[in-house]
Symmetry: C2
Subunit: 243 residues, 2 copies
DNA sequence: TAGTGGTCTAGACCACAAA
DNA sequence: TTGTGGTCTAGACCACTAA
């Protein structure tokens, strides 16, 4: 039986069920890819009607936290490479099509966070961040550089890893650290190419580039990644779809 | 009684109900702000159960086509200035806050569409477009210029209007032409300020700017607006929120 | 064949808004 | 007080999946 109590009527019952299920996923009690109990079993366990469980599961499915398949059941959503690419990778090529960029890790270092990152990641004294500098290419054409900063306390042992980090980081975060990226903010500005851009992107000095500052959130609005990208837009563009 | 038939079982019943209601809104049978019949009345009229109507209305509410208020009823959503601003205006100031920009119309002209716009708007021979050039400011600081192009066949009489167009165009489209903007695509690139930018945005030649190419869609994926914006990002930024 | 989610129905009770 | 949508329940039947 569940240890969570459903008592107060402050929030709708189905919302409380959503909360309970989200907590179970966040805490790893239900792991990525794992099947959930069937709707009738959940209803019985939580002491609510099947319709209420269904409404909660539908909401979780809309938030892409679970995957429902008729005849099979409901499972905790797994972030595949392709999924995350389409979900958070908003670049298109000259023809307006999405593409799968290659990735090259150029530098990786552990360092003190500085005041801004310490605040962003809620780090305590002496806790460190890891910073990865990578270049993305489409075929042999350089497109973008990105400087990814991660709080080491959230990724324990990441500073001991050998070899480059995986190209698609978010499925790696999920599989190896149980950290699911739920939401991303990107602040976009226009900048001119500096010497580093000239070196890694192969552009002329003074070329205009997009600077994209990304903040990635997991459960409870906790920030687990900061990323600064610099993007050539002579053959590519950033696509923003608003509904 | 309804003239629409609910027969085939190819699509779920509630989906067919959504389709019928969307069509009624698109065709102006249910106008912006108008109250819909109550759920039981709709259920009776369409010959489905109240639960099915409810599911359809919930989906329309999620798509922001209707507004539901307990104790009051369901009405066709109205796009207020503030609503549309928050929904489609993705700029933030230096502090990361949204703001309400001022607007100044600098030029307006009727012209032949050219091949690209003719194709985009599905225009027939001799049909024209109207092009509006405007400057947006925050206080006395110029932020952005925008060149809005509209197909005149979709906005009959717009070429005869006196005085500048309203600052927020989308509620104007909806009120005066029954055209509801449902979705917007924006393709963002980095460019260098040209002489026109220097003149209207007060920047130095060579300053990097964001170029934002927007396409706005109404029902049936019909395109009703094209917009080219050029944005200073020295004190502002484009904010993209991905979920 | 058994079990799952997908759909559809029918009703109960509650909270809210307006007259 | 009346009528609305918001919530919750209880079940029926269907379509799909896997064994």
């Amino acid at each position: 039986m569940s240890t969570e109590k459903i008592e107060t009527l402050a929030r709708p019952l189905y919302q409380q069920v959503v909360d309970i299920m989200m907590r179970r996923i966040a805490e790893g009690q239900w792991k990525s890819g794992q099947m959930l109990p069937s709707e009738p079993k959940l209803a019985q366990e939580l002491g609510v009607s099947p319709g209420t469980v269904r409404k909660a599961l539908d909401q979780l499915a809309a938030d892409q936290l679970v995957t429902r398949r008729q005849g099979l059941g409901t499972s905790v959503a797994v972030s595949t490479r392709a999924d995350m690419l389409y979900r958070f990778f908003k670049l298109v090529d000259g023809a307006g099509k999405r593409f799968m960029p290659d990735c090259e890790e150029l530098q990786r270092k552990v360092q003190s966070p500085g005041r801004l990152f310490a605040e962003l990641f809620h780090l305590k004294a002496k806790q460190k961040v890891i910073s990865v500098f990578r270049r993305r290419t489409n075929g042999d054409q350089p497109i973008m550089t990105e400087r990814v900063t991660l709080p080491i306390p959230a990724f324990i042992g990441i500073d001991k890893l050998e070899g480059p980090l995986p190209t698609t980081l978010y499925d790696f975060f999920e599989m190896d650290y149980g950290l699911k990226v739920l939401r991303v903010d990107e602040k976009i500005t226009a900048v001119v190419a500096n010497p580093e851009d000239v070196e890694y992107l192969g552009v002329e000095p003074g070329t205009p580039l997009l600077a994209i500052e990304r903040t990635a959130y997991t459960f409870n609005d906790q920030i687990i990644e900061h990323r600064l990208s610099r993007l050539r837009t002579d053959n590519h563009a950033y696509l923003s779809e608003l509904t």
